[in-house]
C-alpha cells in the first residue's frame, strides 16, 4: 500500500494491473499477531450492533485449549472504573445453577436497575454469559454436532466497545467463541463466510488464492431506510407498528419466492434490532452458491428501479412473471390497509402530484387534478378510488387494460420489497449475527417466525436489560430439570424457535451427507 505513505494519497489510485500484484498480495511480510485489530472502516453503514445471549447448556462443548486464549486479558481492563455497587452487589445464585455451569461460566449476579444501560460492560458480560445461545448458534453454522471446518473456518468479526473492528476471527468450538465474547464484550458481532482455510492462518499462506471464501448462507437485508420516500408515519431511525408493515410485506413476498421458486427450505428471518430484518437462507444448495448465482437471485427478486428523482420506479413486463403476479396477489391486500389507510401516502398536494405522475393518461390526470384541487386533503383511499370512478365516467383516453397495469405498477411501487441487494450479491459479505444486541435500542436480534409474521411487533422485542431483570425477578420452582437462565425470560420462545430451526437443518444435512456418500460408493463401483 504505497499510497498510505503520502499525505494526499488515496487507495483508489493503486494501479490494479501490475503483474506482480497477485503475488505480493498473497504473502504478507509480517505475520501479525492473531488477534490483531484491523483498523478498517465500519463494514456497513448501518450502525446496528448485535448481542448474543448466553446459552448455558454447554455440556457438550470440548475443553478449550490454552493456546486459543487471547494473550491480553481485556476483561480486566474493562473492569476498571466499573465497580458500580449497583451492578456488583451480589444476589446469591441458586446453587444448582452454579453446578451445571461448572467452570465455564460463573455469572456474577446482576442487579438491573432503571439506571442500567444496555451497553454497560456488566450488562454485556451477563448477556453473553447467561443468555446468548452459543450452542445452537454453533450447531447452526456447523451443520452437525461434532465440531467441523464448517464452523472452525468461519469468519467472525467483532465490533469492540471502543468501536474497533476485529475481522477474521475464528473458533474451533462454541465454547471458545463464547469465551472470546465474554472477554472482549463486543457490542455486536458479524458472521462471514466459511473460508478454504482457517481465517486466522490467512497470512501464513504462500498463495493468497489458497485463502478464499467457499460457503455462506444466502442473506438478505431489508431496511426501513429504503422506504423513506413512501413512509409517512415516522422518519429516520424511528419505527412504529404502521411502518413495520413494510417489512412484514417484504418478508412474506421474499419468503414465498425463496421457497416455491428456488426450493429453499431453511430460511431464518431475524429482526435487525431496530428497523429492519435479515434473512439467512441456510440450505446447502444456497450456501454453496458463487457470486454470480447470488446476483441472479438478487436480480430475480428486485423490481424497483431508480432513485428518488427518477419518477416511475416499477415498469413490470407484461404478462407479469409468475413471481410478480404472486407477489401482487399478496401485496394487494396490504395495499388497502398498510398503505392507503395507514400511510395515507398521497394526503398532501405534493404527494398527490407524484401519484398523478405515475398515471399514463393525460385526460384522466387532468380530471383528477381538477377534482383534487377542490378537495386537496381527500384521504388517499378516496383518491385511489377516484381514479376508477373518473375513468368510468368517461375521462379515460387509454384502454382500461393500460390503466389497470399502471395501477398494478403503482401498488408494486408502494408495497414490493426493497432489498439492499448488495448484501445478497457477495459470498464474502458479513452480516450481523442473530441474537446479538442492537446498540442503539438494546433489543435482541430475535428470529421472526414467518408463520406468525403478521403478529411480530418490533416494539415488544425484549431488551437486554429487561431480560436480565427477568432472570432476577424469576420466582418459579426449580423442577426436576434445572432451568437455564434464558428459560426464565421472554427470550425463551425465540431460543426455542431457533433450536427447532437448527435441528431441522441438521436433520436434512444428515440426509444430504448420507446421499452423497451413497453416490460416492456408486461412483466407485463403476
Amino acid at each position: 500500500m504505497p499510497h498510505s505513505v503520502t499525505p494526499e494519497s488515496t487507495p483508489a489510485d493503486e494501479p490494479s494491473t501490475t503483474v506482480t500484484q497477485g503475488d505480493t498480495d498473497t504473502v504478507e511480510p509480517e505475520a501479525e499477531a492473531e488477534a490483531e485489530a484491523e483498523a478498517e472502516a465500519e463494514p456497513k453503514a448501518e450502525a446496528e450492533a448485535e448481542a448474543e445471549t448466553q446459552d448455558v447448556a454447554m455440556e457438550e462443548a470440548p475443553t478449550p485449549t490454552a493456546s486459543e486464549q487471547p494473550k491480553v486479558n481485556l476483561e480486566e481492563l474493562f473492569d476498571d472504573g466499573d465497580s458500580d455497587d449497583e451492578f456488583t452487589s451480589s444476589v446469591p445464585m441458586p446453587a444448582s445453577q452454579d453446578q451445571e455451569q461448572g467452570e465455564l461460566s460463573q455469572p456474577a449476579p446482576i442487579k438491573v436497575t432503571s439506571k442500567s444501560s444496555f451497553s454497560d460492560p456488566e450488562i454485556m458480560r451477563a448477556f453473553y454469559q447467561r443468555l446468548f445461545p452459543f450452542r445452537p448458534l454453533f450447531q447452526w453454522l456447523n451443520h452437525s454436532p461434532t465440531p467441523s471446518n464448517d464452523f472452525a473456518h468461519r469468519e467472525f468479526a467483532f465490533t469492540l466497545p471502543n468501536d474497533a473492528y476485529l475481522r477474521y476471527q475464528s473458533f474451533p468450538t462454541a465454547d471458545l467463541l463464547r469465551k472470546q465474547c465474554i472477554q472482549l464484550l463486543p457490542s455486536r458481532f458479524e458472521i462471514g463466510p466459511m473460508y478454504s482455510t482457517n481465517p486466522r492462518d490467512r497470512k501464513t499462506l504462500r498463495k493468497a488464492s489458497a485463502f478464499k471464501p467457499v460457503m455462506k448462507e444466502l442473506v438478505f437485508d431489508i431496511d426501513m431506510t429504503d422506504y423513506d420516500d413512501i413512509r409517512t408515519c415516522c422518519t429516520g431511525a424511528s419505527i412504529c407498528l404502521k411502518c413495520w408493515g413494510f417489512i412484514t410485506m417484504a418478508i412474506k413476498t421474499i419468503d414465498v419466492a425463496l421457497r416455491e421458486d428456488f426450493g429453499f427450505k431453511h430460511i431464518l428471518w431475524v429482526y435487525s434490532g431496530r428497523r429492519g430484518a435479515h434473512a439467512w437462507v441456510c440450505d446447502k444448495r444456497a450456501r454453496e452458491m458463487d457470486d454470480q448465482k447470488r446476483r441472479s437471485i438478487a436480480a430475480y427478486l428486485e423490481l424497483l428501479k431508480g432513485g428518488d428523482q427518477s419518477g416511475k420506479k416499477v415498469n413490470a413486463r407484461r404478462p407479469l412473471h409468475p413471481h410478480i403476479e404472486r407477489s401482487l396477489v399478496i401485496l394487494k391486500e396490504h395495499f388497502q390497509t398498510s398503505i392507503l389507510a395507514e400511510q395515507d401516502p398521497w394526503a398532501s398536494e405534493e404527494k398527490a402530484a407524484h401519484l398523478l405522475n405515475l398515471l399514463p393518461d393525460p385526460t384522466l390526470k387532468a380530471a383528477l387534478q381538477k377534482k383534487w384541487d377542490s378537495a386537496p386533503s381527500r384521504p388517499s383511499a378516496s383518491k385511489w378510488a377516484d381514479i376508477d370512478a373518473l375513468a368510468k365516467s368517461g375521462s379515460l383516453s387509454i384502454t382500461p387494460r393500460d390503466l389497470l397495469e399502471a395501477k398494478q405498477d403503482i401498488i408494486l411501487e408502494y408495497t414490493y420489497p426493497r432489498l439492499d441487494a448488495e448484501v445478497s450479491k457477495k459470498l464474502n459479505h458479513l452480516l450481523k449475527s442473530p441474537f446479538v444486541i442492537h446498540p442503539g435500542t438494546g433489543r435482541v436480534c430475535v428470529p421472526i417466525d414467518t408463520r406468525t409474521v403478521e403478529e411480530f411487533d418490533p416494539l415488544t422485542v425484549p431488551t437486554v436489560t429487561q431480560l436480565l431483570q427477568e432472570i432476577d425477578d424469576w420466582e418459579g420452582e426449580e423442577g426436576e430439570k434445572k432451568l437455564q437462565d434464558w428459560e426464565k425470560t421472554s427470550l425463551k420462545p425465540y431460543v426455542e424457535y431457533f433450536r427447532r430451526f437448527v435441528a431441522a437443518l441438521i436433520e436434512e444435512e444428515k440426509q444430504v451427507l448420507k446421499r452423497e456418500r451413497e453416490e460416492d460408493v456408486d461412483a466407485m463401483e463403476f
Binding site: 500500500m1 504505497p2 499510497h3 505513505v5 503520502t6 499525505p7 494526499e8 494519497s9 488515496t10 483508489a12 489510485d13 493503486e14 494501479p15 494491473t17 501490475t18 503483474v19 506482480t20 500484484q21 497477485g22 503475488d23 505480493t24 504462500r206 498463495k207 488464492s209 489458497a210 478464499k212 416455491e260 421458486d261 428456488f262 426450493g263 429453499f264 444448495r285 452458491m289 454470480q292 448465482k293 446476483r295 441472479s296 437471485i297 438478487a298 436480480a299 430475480y300 413486463r317 404478462p319 407479469l320 412473471h321 409468475p322 413471481h323 410478480i324 403476479e325
Partner: protein, 509 residues
C-alpha cells in the same frame, strides 16, 4: 511468477498431471480430428507443435480476447461487437464451418484448440486472471455459437450430452399460463421446453425470463444458447481451477515458462492498450519540461483540460495531478524533467512545500520510491479511457476524468471550439454521442475530424494499416497517433506498427 509450493499438489493428482504433461511435452504425435467447429475444450491437445507456433498462436488468440474486452469496455452491443470482431477474427483466429469445405478446416480448429489451452496455462495463475480469461473465452464462444451454421450447431449441442429433461406434453398443458407469462412467448407459439436446475441458467433467472419451480427452471428451446454458454463457462471455470493447481509442475518446463509469463503479463493490462512503445515515438526527441506547452497541441481533451487548468491556477488537485503525471510519464517525460515541470508549474508554491508535499508523490508514480511491487512495476500505468470513464466524477474544484463525460454539454462544446473544432456537424454529432454516453466515440470523432487530412493521406498511400487507426481507447495512444500524423514525413515516422502486445515486451526486466 508461477513458482509455488509443489507439495500442495497431492500425489494422486500429480500422477495424473505427469501423465498429461508427458503427453503434452513428449510429442506422441497424435493428431486429433475436429468434427465440430465449436469446441468445449474438454480434451487437452496431445500432438506436438513448435515453440514458435506455441507463441504465435497464443498471441493471436490474445489479440482477439483483448479486442473482445475492448468491446465490452466500450459497451458495444452484441451486433456491433460481432461486426467489429469479424475482421479481427478472420485475421487472427479464423474458424470456418464444415459447409465452407475449406482445406484449412482442421488446421484452423487445431490452432483454436491449442491456443485456448496455451492461454489457459498462462492465465490460470491468479483468481483475477482466471475470471477474466473465463469471461472473455465465454464471450468468444457465444460469438461463434451465434454465427454457427444452424445444423452444425444442433449437431454440436446434441454431442454435448447436456442432460436436459424435456417437459412432457401433460406438464406443458398444466403450466401453460405460467410458462408463457415467464418467458413472454405467445401462447399460440409452439415451443419446446427443458427442465434444468436453475443454477445452470443464472442469467435467465436474473432477468426473470424463466419459470421457476422449487429450484427447477423451465427453459424454452430458443434460450438454448444461454444454457450452452453457461455450461461452457462452468466447465471452463472448473478446468481452470484444476490447471491452477497443476501449474507448479508445468513451469518446470523452462522453455514454456517465460512464454507463459509473458503472455499473462500482456494480458494484465489489455484495456490500457498502453505500452512503453507509446513513450518511444520515432522522430520525437527526448521530451523535456519545456516541450509540454507545445506538445499539448497533440493532447486529447482530457489532458488539454488539465494542462490549461494547471496554467490558469498554477495548481492542480490530487487526482488531476495523478492523471496528468501518469500521462506525461506515458508520453516519455522522464522523472527528473517531470519534477522540473511540476516545480515550475506550481509557481506560487515555496520550494519547501513542494519538496515536502508533492515530490514524493511524483516519484512514487514513476516507481522511484515505494514498495518492491511499485518499483518493480515502474510505478503506475497511465490511465486508460476505460479507467477514466469508470472513476467517480470529479467534484468541485477538480478537473480530472474525461471531459466528454464530466462537462455539461455547453461547456464541452465551448472547450472543443477553443480547441479549434468549429464544424457544426461534428459538434452536433459529438453532442449526440455524449447524450448516449458514448464518450470515447465522441473523442474519436474529434480526433478524426482534427486529423482528417493526415488520416486520408496515410490511408491513401497505404503507409498505415487499418489497425493503426483502430478506435483510440487510451489518452497516450491519442497523443502518439496525433503527433505522428502531424509530423508525417519528418524522419522515420509513419511507423506505428507494433501492437500493444509486442510493445509490452519492453516492459519486462
Amino acid at each position: 511468477m508461477i513458482r509455488h509450493d509443489y507439495s500442495r499438489v497431492d500425489s494422486k493428482r500429480r500422477a495424473n498431471l505427469d501423465y498429461k504433461k508427458r503427453q503434452f511435452a513428449n510429442a506422441e504425435f497424435q493428431q486429433q480430428n475436429y468434427e465440430h467447429r465449436l469446441n468445449f475444450y474438454v480434451l487437452p491437445p496431445t500432438a506436438e507443435i513448435t515453440l514458435e507456433e506455441f507463441e504465435t498462436w497464443a498471441i493471436n488468440r490474445l489479440k482477439v480476447l483483448s479486442e473482445l474486452e475492448g468491446c465490452s469496455f466500450r459497451n458495444r452491443g452484441p451486433e456491433e461487437t460481432a461486426e467489429y470482431m469479424k475482421g479481427i477474427l478472420d485475421k487472427y483466429l479464423p474458424l470456418r464451418s464444415d459447409s465452407s469445405r475449406s482445406q484449412k478446416l482442421q488446421d484452423e480448429r487445431r490452432r483454436d484448440h491449442y491456443s485456448h489451452f496455451i492461454l489457459r496455462l498462462a492465465f490460470s495463475s491468479t483468481e483475477d486472471l482466471r475470471r477474466r480469461f473465463s469471461r472473455l473465452e465465454t464471450m468468444l464462444f457465444s460469438l461463434r455459437f451465434k454465427n454457427d451454421d444452424l445444423r452444425e450447431r444442433q449437431e454440436f449441442v446434441r454431442n454435448l450430452n447436456l442432460e436436459w429433461e424435456e417437459v412432457k406434453d401433460e406438464e406443458k398443458r398444466e403450466l401453460k399460463d405460467e410458462l408463457h407469462a415467464a418467458s413472454g412467448i405467445k401462447k399460440t407459439e409452439e415451443q419446446e421446453w427443458f427442465k434444468v436446475d436453475w443454477e445452470r441458467v443464472p442469467e435467465l433467472v436474473g432477468q426473470r425470463k424463466v419459470l421457476l419451480r422449487r429450484g427447477v427452471a423451465y427453459v424454452p428451446q430458443r434460450e438454448q444458447m444461454s444454457m450452452v454458454v453457461a455450461e461452457f463457462t462452468k466447465r471452463l471455470d472448473e478446468a481452470l481451477e484444476l490447471t491452477a493447481r497443476a501449474l507448479p509442475r508445468l513451469d518446470e518446463d523452462d522453455r514454456l515458462a517465460p512464454i507463459l509469463a509473458h503472455l499473462s503479463q500482456s494480458f494484465t493490462a489489455p484495456d490500457a492498450a498502453y505500452s512503453t512503445s507509446d513513450a518511444n515515438i520515432d522522430g520525437l526527441s527526448t521530451i523535456t519540461a519545456n516541450n509540454i506547452d507545445t506538445l499539448s497541441q497533440n493532447f486529447p481533451l482530457c489532458m488539454r483540460n488539465l494542462h490549461s487548468t494547471l496554467r490558469e491556477n498554477s495548481h492542480l488537485k490530487h487526482y488531476g495531478r495523478l492523471q496528468y503525471t501518469l500521462f506525461l510519464k506515458g508520453i516519455g517525460l522522464g522523472l527528473d524533467e517531470c519534477l522540473v515541470f511540476w516545480r515550475r508549474s506550481f509557481k506560487l508554491m515555496t520550494d519547501d512545500k513542494f519538496q515536502k508535499e508533492y515530490k514524493y508523490n511524483i516519484r512514487h508514480v514513476y516507481g522511484d520510491v515505494g514498495g518492491d511491487a511499485n518499483r518493480r512495476g515502474r510505478g503506475y500505468t497511465p490511465y486508460s479511457c476505460q479507467k477514466l470513464l469508470t472513476e467517480p466524477l470529479p467534484g468541485p474544484g477538480q478537473s480530472h476524468g474525461c471531459p466528454y463525460r464530466s462537462f455539461t454539454p455547453d461547456n464541452l462544446l465551448s472547450a472543443l471550439q477553443r480547441m479549434g473544432i468549429n464544424d457544426r456537424d461534428v459538434l452536433k454529432t459529438v453532442k449526440e454521442d455524449v447524450g448516449k454516453q458514448r464518450y470515447h466515440v465522441a473523442c474519436n470523432r474529434v480526433f478524426e475530424w482534427s486529423h482528417k487530412r493526415e488520416i486520408k493521406k496515410v490511408k491513401d498511400d497505404g503507409s498505415w494499416s487499418a489497425t493503426d487507426l483502430d478506435t483510440i481507447v487510451h489518452p497516450n495512444t491519442y497523443f502518439k497517433r496525433s503527433w505522428l500524423l502531424k509530423h508525417l514525413g519528418e524522419g522515420n515516422v509513419g511507423f506505428v506498427g507494433e501492437s500493444a502486445m509486442g510493445g509490452e515486451e519492453k516492459m519486462e526486466e
